[in-house]
Symmetry: C2
Subunit: 361 residues, 2 copies
């Protein structure tokens, strides 16, 4: 364990099923993962019961000993965490900051990878005129370890009319350059070789300058990659009217959060959106999770779509050095989506079984 690059042999896999539909979709992702993985790869799973339910039971979000154990694993598969909305015993943000973001920061997941592809057969909320412009297939490289997500800031005179609260976005050359470089690498490997920087440099000047300057600097090393810049507000318009223009997007933590949810929405919904919290330097395990939440309202009914979790498993295999196995999962999902008929209601395990058997051949 703890080489974080086991392309063969035993892979120590931390599984965090989480809350709500998390365990349901994780079970299907694991099912497909086992079928898709090449024979030389053996998963040794350790399950970690973390999330809202565990917090309500134990009062702990992520004990240091558990974090230390997870750090020794090769990779992490996460379902979804989050309790009932407005549960008075669940302070808002406690799981987000104490668990999800904590893992991203502690494990240096500086590349939050979110592919968006409109698979044929899936239902998009866009008009035929927009969809008719061509294939939608882009990937967002979202910075994962700094920006407005650091928790920096504070408040003064809380609860008085003179209260002032600040929220500080921290952007370092160290943090920006490495994620920009990763995005250029990914852009170079794609047919269109196009990279768009997304920011709001005309208003957020301090942060904007370091992003802009390092983007330009790294661009000079990738003359084969076409570059482009878009303000975050303009991206909204393009995603709604011309999403085909994007190939790879690189952006900060908060803009990336916003852009990827819209990207998921226009490509068939959050039920299909996979993500990887990647540590490209492999100094700690990377973590793979669907973009969707724990959906407590439909939990326990086995009606959740496990596709996003299954596709997150594909990203995991790709990260472990098995792009062909990842491609097999993607192809199976594609075939499954094409075979879906409108109004068809399949239970969560049925979807997992269907995809797994397509992967098996």
């Amino acid at each position: 364990a703890a080489s974080f690059t086991p392309a063969t042999g035993q892979v120590d896999l931390a599984v965090i099923p989480g809350d709500g539909i998390g365990p349901e979709v994780t079970a299907e992702a694991l099912k497909v993962l086992e079928v898709a993985a090449p024979a030389e790869l053996k998963f040794s799973r350790t399950q970690y019961d973390l999330g809202a339910e565990n917090y309500l039971k134990t009062g702990e979000v992520l004990p240091p000993s558990v974090l230390a154990e997870i750090k020794g694993q090769d990779a992490i598969l996460l379902g979804a965490v989050g309790g009932k909305p407005n549960d008075p015993n669940l302070p808002p943000g406690i799981l987000e900051r104490g668990l999800l973001l904590k893992l991203r920061f502690e494990l240096d997941h500086y590349v939050n990878l979110r592919p968006s592809r409109l698979f044929p057969g899936s239902v998009a909320p866009l008009s035929d005129a927009v969809l008719g412009k061509g294939e939608i297939d882009f990937v967002v490289v979202r910075e994962g370890t700094e920006g407005p997500y650091t928790g920096n800031g504070g408040a003064l005179r809380v609860g008085t009319p003179a209260e002032v609260a600040t929220e500080v976005s921290v952007n370092t050359a160290y943090g920006v350059e490495r994620v920009v470089r990763d995005a250029f690498e990914r852009a170079r490997k794609r047919p269109r070789k196009k990279l768009t920087l997304v920011h709001k440099t005309n208003v957020l000047v301090h942060a904007g300058q370091v992003w802009w300057r390092l983007f330009e600097k790294v661009a000079a090393e990738y003359p084969d990659v076409t570059t482009d810049y878009c303000h975050i507000d303009a991206v909204m318009i393009f995603l709604a009217t011309d999403p085909q223009r994007f190939d790879v997007i690189v952006t900060d933590n908060l803009f990336g959060d916003i852009v990827t949810d819209l990207a998921a929405a226009i490509t068939g919904g959050i039920g299909l959106a996979a993500s990887g919290n990647v540590n490209p330097d492999r100094t700690a395990p990377s973590m793979f999770e669907p973009v969707h939440g724990s959906a407590p309202d439909i939990a326990g009914q086995l009606v959740a779509d496990p596709t996003a979790a299954i596709l997150s498993g594909a990203l995991l295999l790709d990260h472990l050095g098995h792009p062909e196995a990842a491609a097999r999962i993607e192809a199976a999902v594609l075939a499954d989506l094409e075979a879906r008929t409108p109004g068809q209601q399949r239970r969560t395990p049925e979807v997992g079984d269907a995809i797994a058997s397509r992967v098996a051949g």
Copy 2:
């Protein structure tokens, strides 16, 4: 002048046509404004040549004496400012921060009002399934004087590998409560009486807490208004798949910027989106402007759609206390949109003339 509430008599109107298509659309907005205004209202216009062109000529963005003069006007109509993209003589952000944001901050435009309505006849990028859910008609109350737009922050060790740049979002009880209160007032006056707070309280905790707390506090005074909360990322999904759920949205400066561009895109495009930078306390003139930019690529050809500028004129009349006159412009725009035929090419003044003659009756 300088009562900022002249419902009758002379209205001193500052006109800032700006760059690119700005002057073209402003001319049509003024045309319609004159026709729609009640007889007792007389506009006395002063034109201010500000923007990229003026900056390139004079080296000044907004001289203090000009700002002082504008402060003495009753209201401002702005076209659009901005030069050619990547003009090396135009430092990025200089007009945005030196002119647009400067005016919003100096004139205490704490309510940035952006209505979104899908007029019948206009082309939306959403599918029939989404559009079929019902009418889209909501308004975003965007905070305009603080948040991440203050310019607070800085950079250290610029240009070295140790560079760190911060961007500070400043949120005060003073600033948050007044805009939240304004939004509740607006929600109360609408049929559905629903107000949604948009933020990212689970991550931006310091800012999130003051927004959340003051939203809850003011809500207690408006028991007739239904309240709701949405994370900014979830708003992306709802705007793409169920925009009908929104009635009034209140949010911070940056989230408001992002949300309103997507709102404009899904309701027929930025060519129709009007906005008001409102000082509800009337301690300074309010400013009305289309959401779109100066579009230098199509400037001078008289092909720009002046509808957004014309609708901004309606917001101006409403602000001056003439909701009926504003409604007449809206109705004329609606009729004009319904009468448009696909592929029809009208020149900018033709659209203005058509709407003006509908207003005239």
